[in-house]
């Protein structure tokens, strides 16, 4: 299960970011922000080779000693980043993919809300619920 889930706008500012435990929030912010480097690298690399037939899931962006950072980018260049604890070795690639898919579906629902202004931070309770379901349950 994830320790941090972030949704980042096309312009690279965070639309949503949540992490557990909360005392490490800052560190996750730095981690997610830095991971954008690799996201951009991967997007541009894929863009050159395959055109529009691209895979949304970007795979492992980069591992750190403590965390593995996975990326996913929608067609509208909204990025999803999931940070997983490195010690969590039971997590398979497929599970990460399905987490991203779930996240994307919920994000689409948020965007479909006529009262949501695209570009604003996400405050949807439903989205929050989905994210909570994917996060490591503390305590």
């Amino acid at each position: 299960m994830a320790v941090c889930i972030a949704v980042i706008a096309k312009e690279n500012y965070p639309l949503y970011i949540r992490s557990v435990p909360t005392q490490n929030e800052l560190k996750f912010h730095y981690t997610v922000h830095t991971s954008l480097d690799v996201v951009e690298e991967k997007i541009s690399a894929v863009g050159k080779s395959l055109g529009d037939q691209r895979e949304l899931y970007l795979g492992l962006l980069y591992p750190t000693e403590d965390y593995k950072v996975y990326g996913y980018v929608t067609n509208s260049k909204v990025k999803f980043v999931i940070v997983v604890d490195s010690s969590n070795t039971s997590l398979r690639d497929n599970e990460i993919r399905s987490m991203f898919r779930k996240l994307h579906n919920s994000f689409t629902d948020v965007m479909c809300n006529p009262f949501h202004n695209p570009g604003d931070p996400i405050q949807s309770k439903a989205f929050d619920g989905i994210v909570s379901g994917m996060m490591v349950q503390t305590g």
Binding site: Y13, H29, H33, Y62, E65, S87, G119, D120, P121
Partner: protein, 1261 residues
Amino acid sequence: WKALRRPLSTVKQVYSFKEKHHGDLQGAGDQSLFTSLYTSLAQQLPREPMEWRRTYGRAPKMIHLEANFVQFKEELLPKEGNKALLTFPFLHIYWTDCCDTEVYKSLVKEDMLRWQNSLRAHGSADWVIIVVETNDNKKKNKTNILPRSSIVDKIRSDFCNKQNDRCVVLSDPLKDSSRSQESWNSLLLKLRTLLLMSFTKNLGRFEDDMRTLREKRTQPGWSFCEYFMVQEELAFVFEMLQQFEDALVQYDELDALFTQYVLNFGAGGNFGWSGLLLRRPIDMEKRDGIQRGEASLLDLRSYLFSRQCTLLIFLQRPWEVTQRALELLHNCVQELRLLEVSVLEGALDCWVFLSCLEVLHRIEGCCDQAQLAANCSHTVGLWAYATDKLKSLGELCGLVSEKEPTSEDLNRTVDLLAGLGDERPETVNSLQSPYKKLKEALSSVEAFERHYLELSHAAMEMYRAIGRLRSARLVGKSLAEFYMRKADPERAETFLQEALKSYVSEGWSLPVTHTRKQIAACQKLLGRTEDYLQTSALLAGDVNLTTEERKHFCQEILTFAGKSGDQSQKVTLSMGVFTQLTRLQFRPATASVHSGAVLQVELTLRCLMPVSVHIQQLAASIHFDLERGGTNGRSKGTQRQTNPGTVEFHQSNSSAGPPSSSAAGPPLELDEIQDRSPSDNSLNSTGVVCKNTHLVMRRHDSHSPPDTPNCVSPPAVAMKEGAQMLKVQDVTLEPGNNSIIFTAPSGQPGTYTLRQLYATVGQVQFVLPHIYPSVQYEVYSQEPQLTVEPLSEPLLAGLPQMVKFTLLTGHYTVKKGDALQLSNTDTMPILPSSSCTARISNPAAEIIFDTYNVLSIQSSEKVTSISLPPTPPYHTLEFHLEVLCLIPSGDERPANERLTNGEVRHRPRSYSHPDTPMTAIDQRMSIDCPWSIYSTLLALTFYIPFKTKHSLLSAGNRKYIQVCVQNVSDVNFTLAEVKLTEKQHATLELQSLNTKTQQLLCSKHSVFCLWEVRWKDDLPSCLQCVFSADFSPLNQDISAFKPFHYQFQFERVTTLYSVRADILPPAGEQHCRSGLLCGLEVCITRLTEPAEGELAEDSKTDTDGLKTTKLMYEVADSSSNWAVCGKSSGMVSMPMAASATHKVQIEVMPLFAGHLPFPKIKVLKYLPHTAAVAIQPDPDSCVENDSLSLLDKALDDQGDTASIRSRGSVHSVGSGDQQQKGVAMPRLEPFSPGQVFNHSYTQQVLVLPATDDHIMEVNAT
């Protein structure tokens, strides 16, 4: 491979070749024979590739087989369960050159049997017997030689039952003949085939065994190390076959298995942290450790990785090494943590650091500089990781500080270095080994700094080179933290600012806050007060911080502000971070006041500070623009007024708030534009224009977002002193929204624009350099304005009407005694009114009641004076006045006269208005006002409610006058006292035929009145009549009746001729029949004696002395009832005497049956050309070129009064001065209406259908 050679002699010799190739042949035999063949055998065997078909559906591969030849020994044969694949004898060869049957029987066969038995005992079925045949041997033993074939046959029959291919003949191997070559080739092929067969079989068996072993891994007593050795054997075999890929797979499998194993069971123990060692292909030292089962986790991992690394480099995939290395290192750290292995603090860091550098060295060793540079994306991770680890080591060992490390730190360092052990022999001599680096870095503060900086900069540069700027900045931030620890805030700040810029521009608030806090610390240390205060202000308003922290930073500002310093100590900060201007409201909301009036401005400020802040002065500077021509009045002022009363300010993104606005750029300000054609105002194109392109299109990366005070110093603010200001003293801003009310200066007329906002807190001044969108208010000065307008539309002429006077006093104060002087006009008298009151209202349209509001109106002959009540400036004074506009009665034309004020009186001119059927009159008024030396000219438009027409009707000699009054207004009137008088002829009697005295004249209806003209002697040829009537709106009393006059005149009234027509049926018929000619008899009779004027006018004396006049008649039938046959017109010469008659016969034919109206008969005056020269009585009726058209339309030429006169009353006045334009040509002239009376006008005659009615017309409808 072990090749077995059995020579003639029984001496056995073992050849063991330690080579890296993939197998052994075991052999025994005569050293000389085998040695002589060995070289070429070993060389030629691998020359040709063989296709290797593999089990489990793996793709076949072409491989080259190489062999080791070893002399056969029974003890070398593998025992049951032997897992050594590398030393496995794959094929056993028995070499013999025996050609003697006896020898074979006695010795060789026995030997072979023994060999075979021992092979069978060890379960090996992979063997071959090679019989070498040489001519020398044959020669030597010529006598008792059996044919060679028989020996081979014998061997085959003895040993190879059904396996003839197990015995091969090699003939003359040392000869260079084609035969020997051929036999060599077949031998080699045979050997390769057999070898591969055996290899495949044995490898398969090995793999199966290995798998079986692996399946047992859950059983107790299973040793990973043992299994490791088994699978590695396989890997070695693949490696020797140069199948590095397959070899790597074995190690990867081991790796994965180990990971699983670690997770499930755990392994551990003591270990050193000497790091990876990649310089040897096989680290036998570690391998031995594993074999003995003594390896630690790190050892095992290290060994595994070194093998993978070697293979990957063989496979030319160095970049995979770096990637795997990083994974490995992370993994190991995780595993050790998972296994809860107790490690000396820092030991892991050492291990990771050394390993990173070792991998990098290894990669550097096998790639050139260009390759390295191009692939730094693969290596940079290791660099950064190494940097990280070195930093934490430095912190651990007390090397990251201003001071020298303590003894405790030193102890720790010594422990760590001891764990490294001695340097490996491979690197002892290299100057730059990771081992030496680490040792040196931990040796002193300076050395550590040097190494750490070197690594950091290397990592940063690489990150930058591959465009990972965020990562580079993160390393930079880490470096900044290092500098902070080293008490070098100056260098730290550079890195922090760079990182901050990136976080701010991408809107990551938490990192922004964190970095800003670090910057604040730097700035405080550097003593940069202004910057520090600015940053503190940002942090004090940062919602990401706790209230305590925010209060702290706020206090920092307040403390500084409270210091009593000299003037130079003043600090100017950007206001945006301290408090935000959210709203500005004008009172009154129009933001436009007259000079001297009170205008209030309410500011809403959102204070971002966590505590309430006392402000000594809050001021807004004002830019004053003298409005050009701005004293004109209000209309211009309101036009220019674009600001609504309330201005909302868009929030420029706060320092730490959600940055969507900055990231998305400023909002577009769009306007619609329409391009219209100048000629007909039709739309050519329409579009949308962005008004703030300069903001929207601005490059974001090259410019920090507007108003984000991430830059150290706030924007330079020029504070203009002396200018006008809005000011309030001593306000306290509470956290959140505050409302502050200013009173704006409004002395001079003009435009006041709010430019900047200042808040002064002691030594600190917060400045908002631009108020955007711009806010302005206007102060105007207004001239007094007088307008007069109808109280109700439309104003009707002829009736008393109310008009409204409105006086906007503007800057003028109406004093007691001020009066308006209206010049009287005859056409519009002002009706005196006893109670005329004025209403005074202030600019807010509130009515002010006052005792002096009664107006006194005094009229003299020429002037009406209205004295005004005293009225303050910028008030509105209103009163009503009743006026009456007289309806002009006709064609009188009064001479121009001068008004009392010297103006030329303008005769009110009537004209028809397009919007209404009523005729309009513009009535001008001239008013002298006390505030001006010039008269004010105003115009009112009145409408005449009636349209009047008149006509003369005749019956023989009798005359009637009809007047039609049409009500074109919307009002219903009562008409009374209808009268018609003739002005000049007293004898004339006009007898009214109207019965009613009062008549209702409804809107849009007409009333007709009729009079019979009676005369005694002669009927005057010219009648000048005046129609008069009284009228009033319906249901008003008698006093409300107003007169209405209408003048008109008739000329040439007397009937001169009567025309009588008769239609005679054809001869013998009683009635006319259609299609038959009838006779039309026209009889023209002179009724009167010629009058004087007539004689002179159009008569001429005939040759016989009789006065005649020429008439022209014309029969025309416009309705196509009649066909005129023959002459339809002609001239008649009429004697000018009463009862002179002329008859004309004309043939006509009715075209239809029925009651047909008579054809029309026209009689016209014929004027011969000579007469035309003399007098031209009516030039307007001139007929040119014999045309019969009557040009009475030319009457319109007559000038401005013509249209209200009757069209029929052509008067002769003024005709004399008209140029005669007729040429001396004979002309026709119509008679005036009434001069010719037609008796048979509208008479009808019965026409029967034609007799031969075989044609019948049927009209079916």
